[in-house]
Symmetry: C2
Subunit: 513 residues, 2 copies
């Protein structure tokens, strides 16, 4: 058995079933091993930021890691931005990065690069397997690292001779470490705050946004009057009927500080105390009042549901049903608006839909209009590197299978970063409806530019405007095998959405906002 | 004057006239300064690997650096693969990478990343300007570093408060260090080898491939019988009538060792002793005979033309005209073939054309058929990270202006990596004709797979094949504002090529190979 074969057997034995990939010469023995040994679903992306972003989306819905197969340092580099987003979302991913043969590396051939150096900025685990004998056990450790709560990025670098040499040994699957429980002292401290203090905000993040944790959080809020919110960007919120109508901390600093101005105590549940996405002259970095006290109930890796249940017990909080959100909205009619689009999505989405949200500016207010939708998952960009949406939608669709639907709410400027994902959606016939919000500009930056104190002139608009030429999204999607149509009204958008939900495979709606 | 304004003034004063960019929030004060201060041509790319690859192509033809404007660590990461290629091509680039305000960085906001760490793998110079007062002088040093022979990548990281704070000071343009001359001892040693030894190969690279250096190299070869070749991948070769009919070291290891098998002495002129792109089981890393002696006439940064002239004088070599290459080829007819395409390009290219070659497998034999073309420049991918072509073609076209033409000979798999470059070509109305070689597969990898010893099965082909769905290149180009047409014969390809050369703006020919 060569090293590559030991790697495939180890990955399969450790529960890794999907490989998102763009291989190169140095990975050919691994490709050959995948060909010989059945069991791994191999999905090609036409650029590595598709590959890594798909692995991120896959983890969020599958709750287990996919592996990626990347070609040398530059192949990894192409996928770093979505690995950055995945790290911020606390997704588990096993990167297999091929590289020069150990003996060939000193010759500094053209593709030689500092693969380990580039991997470190996104990875909790980086290891180079320099011998075929080590590949299996190194891979088992990498999978274990990826599956360690809350999810981590593990990068295994595989020189080509470690892959082709004989002597491979299958690594035994290692146990997934238990999710750590909250410190009982932290539970008692939170209970004390909730009993004795006013203006308490419980901020939910990460594993605190799953249905079970939400139920316990609601019990606590109902008993104590504490407020519940979620972070500004969230890897996965279970939303809709039967889940909490949580609001996000606003992106805009002035709005966030206004919403949070009366908070005196902040209890963090797998969340981070809110800070601005950027610093701005004369504005604070922290979005909550400087005098507020911050209490950590659970860290990112800890069991939020258990901690919230313990806290509810400590408070003697009675069971409390999450209130009915009222009737499901009807599809909106007439001129396009963010509210109308959100209502339409809420009206039409199939139960169990996965919304992949990279709306940037247009979707900031979508949440209030979608609380009364059927149960669904909502995924956001946690790292701020644009181009997460098309890739994550691709991976999420692989994870959920053809019986459910992904709805990509997608800004145009961001979509252009990873537009190649459409091809993978077509090839794999994935159930993805992309609502492409075509405003032909980087709207967020035009807003930010005005904050600088001026209207953009010709040179600035050359950097902020996506028109001249306008991108033809229907043609672009068609060129990669994805059916598409344009909508200029909410009625037309609703029609296209409903049609796309009724059939298999991807569809793109170019919505002229 | 704020830091951003001092930066713009310093760049302009140091001779930087073009900014390839995809800005973000943390760069808005720099964008505003570019808007207020005239003189910089700002060119938007829709993903950062377009931006950095364009800066590479620009340097190769303009022989001076452009700057890039990138958004935080992830924006830099998106451009790393083409910076890797640029580093291998020894191109000079000044990266301006915006980042979190210094005081905001400790809050670890979503886009915070190890920007310096990612920059180091490609940069000869990395500096973070932490005060507005330092930005100007830091930028002047960065430009000097970029312009230091043979060309280097300089990355200046600009926290947003260094940009918006007052106190900026314009940095005085620093002198470009002189190109170092060869060691006279190295010249005498090379002369001794050429006088006394047989089977001498002079390998030309980098600055040794400019017209003046070629003339001196020819004089030496004519006088001594030494053979001349160029490296396998070259940043820029001046080719065609009046230049040397140089052949490249072949990519395929067996072919290269065959071509080089009789070499006993290797004289390097701004070149590296040939090594394989990758290691392969049972094949050598070095492509020249183990017993061959290697002599360095000039290092990458040294003046090749001066060294070769000194060597010719030392040898008493008489002036020698480069021989006429024979008649210009005529456009080929009939079925498509690499040779036919090469002949057609040679027959039709306008004088002074710039060929940006990312043909991967299809173009390996193009050189012999294009020696008798009019004088032109030929640019290749020196780093092996695919996706160099569309970006470099964009930047080269900016450098040469509308009176000359870029011809992109472009493999389809590689083109998909940076397909967004077509939009920039349309927006800037750049004189680029892309001949898109559509074979709907990663042909190089199918060959490499067979070297592993098997024909690819279904799973392997899922990773090597670009069909299912076929990419519609005419639609794809049109969707981004680039006119395009399909050709299935050499005649049709020639017609389209000739038409495109006669008009301004970009054009894409989808050639069904």
């Amino acid at each position: 058995m060569n090293g590559a074969e030991s790697l495939v057997h180890t990955l399969l034995g450790s529960g890794v079933e999907v490989c998102f990939t763009n291989p190169g010469t140095s990975e050919m023995h691994f490709v050959a091993a995948l060909d010989r040994i059945p069991g791994m679903r191999c999905i090609l992306g036409l650029q590595e930021n598709i590959v890594t972003g798909a692995a991120d989306g896959y983890w969020r819905m599958a709750e287990k890691p996919a592996c990626t197969l990347l070609h040398c340092g530059p192949g990894l580099a192409n996928g770093l931005a979505n690995l950055h987003n995945a790290r911020r979302a606390r997704s588990g991913i096993v990167n297999i990065t091929g590289d020069q043969a150990v003996y060939h590396r000193p010759f500094d051939a053209p593709l030689t690069a500092d693969t380990e150096g580039w991997a470190r900025g996104v990875s909790a685990f980086v290891r180079t397997s320099t011998r075929a004998e080590d590949v299996g056990v190194d891979a088992a450790v990498a999978v274990q690292a990826a599956r360690t709560s809350p999810g981590q990025i593990a990068t295994l670098i595989l020189p080509s001779d470690s892959s082709w040499n004989e002597g491979g040994v299958v690594g035994q699957a290692l146990p997934v470490p238990a999710v750590p429980q909250a410190d009982p002292h932290a539970v008692r401290q939170a209970a004390r705050v909730l009993r004795e203090k006013r203006n308490v905000l419980i901020l939910l993040g990460g594993l605190g946004l799953r249905e079970g944790a939400q139920r316990e959080a609601h019990r606590i809020a109902a008993a104590t009057g504490a407020k519940l919110m979620c972070e500004g960007s969230n890897a996965r919120i279970q939303r809709g009927r039967g889940r909490l109508p949580l609001e996000r901390v606003p992106y805009v600093v002035d709005q966030a500080t206004e919403v949070l101005k009366s908070v005196e105590h902040l209890i963090l549940v797998n969340a981070k105390a809110p800070v601005g996405f950027f610093g701005y002259p004369g504005k604070p970095s922290q979005l909550y009042p400087p005098a507020a006290e911050v209490h950590v109930l659970t860290r990112y890796e800890q069991d939020a549901e258990q901690a919230l249940a313990a806290l509810a017990e400590e408070l003697g909080a009675p069971k409390a049903a999450i209130p009915d959100p009222g009737p499901r909205p009807e599809a909106a009619r007439g001129a396009l608006s963010p509210e109308g689009l959100a209502q339409t999505v809420a009206a039409l989405m199939p139960e169990g839909a996965v919304v992949v949200d990279e709306t940037v500016t247009y979707g900031r207010g979508f949440f209030p209009y979608t609380h009364a939708a059927p149960p669904h998952d909502w995924l956001q960009n946690c790292g701020g590197a644009i181009g997460y949406g098309p890739s994550a939608a691709t991976g999420a669709a692989v994870a959920i299978g053809p019986a459910r639907r992904v709805i990509g709410l997608q800004a145009d400027g961001s979509a252009m970063y990873t537009v190649q994902a459409l091809w993978t959606q077509a090839r794999e016939k994935l159930p993805v409806t992309t609502v492409l919000l075509s405003n032909r500009k980087y709207q967020i930056l035009i807003g930010e530019y005005r904050n600088v104190g001026a209207n953009p002139g010709r040179t600035a608009m050359d950097m902020l405007d996506l028109g001249n030429p306008d991108i033809g999204w229907v043609q672009l999607a068609n060129s990669m095998g994805v059916e598409a149509a344009r909508a200029e009204t909410l009625e037309r958008c609703a029609d296209l959405m409903a049609q796309s939900f009724a059939r298999p495979g991807p569809f793109l709606i170019e919505l002229m906002i």
